[in-house]
Symmetry: C3
């Protein structure tokens, strides 16, 4: 059981941790549950109280927290394609020698990053919170950054 | 008056604080100003310089910063219902035994979390910034996490 | 070359830094690359490992990370105007004596803030990441907050 609230009386020295997670999604778009990979980083960091920043290092991808349910991921895909369709490719001025303008837009809806609290050495998550990598322009190697600050 | 910029020369020990705020919204959707509740946490923490993370612990709710104006909240409601309509419920594959797929989508538009700077013991806010809990699938007890890191 | 992962063994004292960046955009809407301004703050802070929070202090503006490409910025403008049109102004209840309800909505899509990792004294960015101020209701002086926490 987590304590309902915690105030550290004396304070501690601050520590930091950094790791890159690499992905190569074979399709243009996909959602990948990266919670266990980020948990492994947290364990390796040995940080007990603090904040974890998890962000896409590419501007056509997202990191977000939502439900690990395949039906919902299908709904996200259909919904994002309606809000920011991939084609016709020529509707976007960005698509000069590229065809990924929609990926830049979709990433804004889903977000670049999440900041997750660390309490007593664990993610301070609600019952269904899971961390996802959202790829909107895959078929190449891309990275996610995990940065942890705390004590 | 806040100092225009502050560089702490010597550094201090880091402290952390955690609290859950509970809500039971009687309707499916609502926006609740939680600024004063988060301010009470900050005061209790006794942290003077740092960052406050405020996040929904449920994946069908949001925490965001915007204006405390009822007309705008009505506009948000109408706009979100246009971007990600609740019904017909069967349009979403997530809705097998559930009817809240739209709440998962709406929460992506409005965001999971805010990170707010703490300066001289107060939220470092512009003139109209207020913190809101956005409920998109209420009628049950749900939580918001407040985590504060700093010195 | 950044080290692939870093765990600080002993820990350090935490420091904080704060600065406001001011903008007066002559048009209603614009995207401004503020990366170099935030980099100057980071250099001034002398913080080597930590987190930078960059947030709009106004609720009709955004701070976000994306590509510094004018075609894409045009696409953002067209897309946001489709998702949350400025007019007709009367479609929004917020517009009583104001005409900026759409700016409050656009800011939710683009986001209030970014949190950027600091590693070895630099932004821990992927190849194309740049920080932008997104103005949706300009023609007056408005602020962005830079808050840095770390060691």
């Amino acid at each position: 059981m987590l304590r309902r609230h915690v105030v550290r009386g004396r304070g501690r020295l601050v520590k930091s941790y950094r790791k890159e997670l690499w992905f190569e999604v074979p399709t243009r778009r996909a959602f990948i549950n990266i919670t266990s990979k980020v948990e492994a980083c947290l364990k390796e960091s040995n940080i007990k109280e603090g904040l974890v920043l998890v962000n896409a290092m590419h501007i056509t991808a997202s990191v977000f927290v939502n439900d690990d349910e395949s039906g919902l991921h299908h709904d996200f895909e259909v919904w994002l394609e309606k809000l920011a369709p991939h084609g016709p490719v020529k509707q976007y001025r960005h698509n000069v020698g590229e065809d990924n303008a929609d990926a830049h837009l979709k990433r804004q809806v889903m977000g670049r990053e999440v900041v997750v609290a660390v309490t007593e050495g664990k993610f301070d998550f609600g019952p269904w919170e899971q961390i996802f990598y959202g790829e909107f322009d895959g078929r190449r190697r891309k990275r996610v950054l995990v940065k942890i600050i705390g004590e």
